[in-house]
Amino acid sequence: MSDGIAKGHDQHTEQSNHKKEMSRRQFLTYTLGATGGFLAAGITIPMIRFAVDPLLEKGEATDFVKVTEVSKLTTTPIEIRFQVNQVDGWVESNPELIAWLRKDEAGNVTALSPVCKHLGCTVNFVSTDNKYECPCHGAQYTNEGKNLKVAPLPLDEYSVKVDNGSVYLGQIIPNHLTSK
């Protein structure tokens, strides 16, 4: 036990000897480095936080927009154009979006985004074929948006809310109709 204490004591003196070995020059170098680093951080941290602000900004949930009445929909998709409010920094605009709406046999309203999942062209519903067809590379989708040809994924859909006979559309989400 006394051995241990002696050992500890030895270590202690060794450490303080070691500390004394730091030269004046080294001390000044560290102090200057720390001061300089503090100053540089004080200047650059606000600027970096300023630059990465878009990454840290919370995206606001998209508002649901009323687009049509349930009574106007059938099992054949129809094209509906509607405007959403978009705030992009200091620019506020109302871009027009397109959705293809239908009511399935059970009466559920579904809305598909016509942006082709191949290379982003705008698809159209061709009622004679009962399919969505893309004019660019001939991608085809069923009326539920399931990809038949060319495209790697089914068409995205809008989140849909039905309230009091009116249809409201919100955010674009991955298709969940075709996975069933």
Binding site: I43, T44, P46, M47, R49, F50, A51, D53, L56, G89, W90, V91
Partner: protein, 222 residues
């Protein structure tokens, strides 16, 4: 850290390069630790320090700023009020702009009253005066950029003053204004001058300023 440095140093021999720049004696008469009144010799370095802050904060401000009469004011309003630390970054540039002029003026006074402009340092005095003018130009062109009432009328008055210069006055006005009124063309022009032309000239002049002071040394004790 140390091993990365020595790896590079073995291959590129960088130690003499930075030793040349950073390692030099500070004469006793300019060291505030010896004579406190020697703090007057700090003003040049402080001017440079604020200039570096101006360059950095200015670079970051252009991430949001648009030099266009429709969007300029709203983009400044956005970056100041909506972006995190926007008021601080813009504040640095705003207050730094005044501070750099103050520091430069004090530096000029020190050089003047210590007679440091005398031979063999006359050329460096001239370069310093050119830097002074470039700094004033930076202040003048930057003042328009927020595109608010103060900016607009200050520029209008400034251009009218320039117009009173004999013979070339009308041309200077035309050159600065870029169009029939202080407007769209003035703003883009001032922006280009503020962020590209004058900073480039300033950096070149600063290079010359520092090269000469290192070559000739700080002027001796009084």
């Amino acid at each position: 850290m140390k091993s990365v440095y020595s790896w590079m140093d073995e291959r590129l021999d960088i130690t003499p390069l930075w030793r040349d720049i950073a390692d030099h004696e500070v004469p006793e008469h300019v060291n505030p630790a010896h004579h406190f009144s020697a703090f007057v010799y700090c003003f040049g370095g402080l001017t440079f320090f604020v200039t570096v802050i101006q360059i950095l904060s200015g670079m970051f401000l252009t991430m949001y700023y648009v030099p266009d009469i429709i969007n300029a004011h709203s983009s400044v309003d956005y970056l100041q009020n909506k972006v995190a630390f926007g008021d601080i970054v813009r504040g640095m540039h705003h207050w730094g702009a005044s501070l750099v002029i103050v520091m430069m003026f004090l530096h000029t006074l020190r050089v003047f009253f210590t007679g440091s402009y005398k031979a063999p340092r006359e050329m460096n005095w001239v370069i310093g005066m050119l830097i002074f003018m470039v700094m004033l130009g930076l202040g003048f062109t930057g003042y328009l950029l927020p595109w608010d009432n103060k900016a607009y009328f200050a520029t209008k008055v400034g251009i009218q003053i320039a117009e009173t210069a004999p013979v070339i006055g009308a041309y200077i006005k035309e050159f600065l204004q870029g169009g029939p009124v202080v407007g769209a063309q003035t703003l883009t022009r001032f922006f280009a001058i503020h962020v590209f032309f004058l900073p480039a000239v300033m950096l070149a002049l600063l290079g010359g300023h520092f090269f000469m002071i290192r070559k000739q040394g700080i002027s001796g004790p009084l």
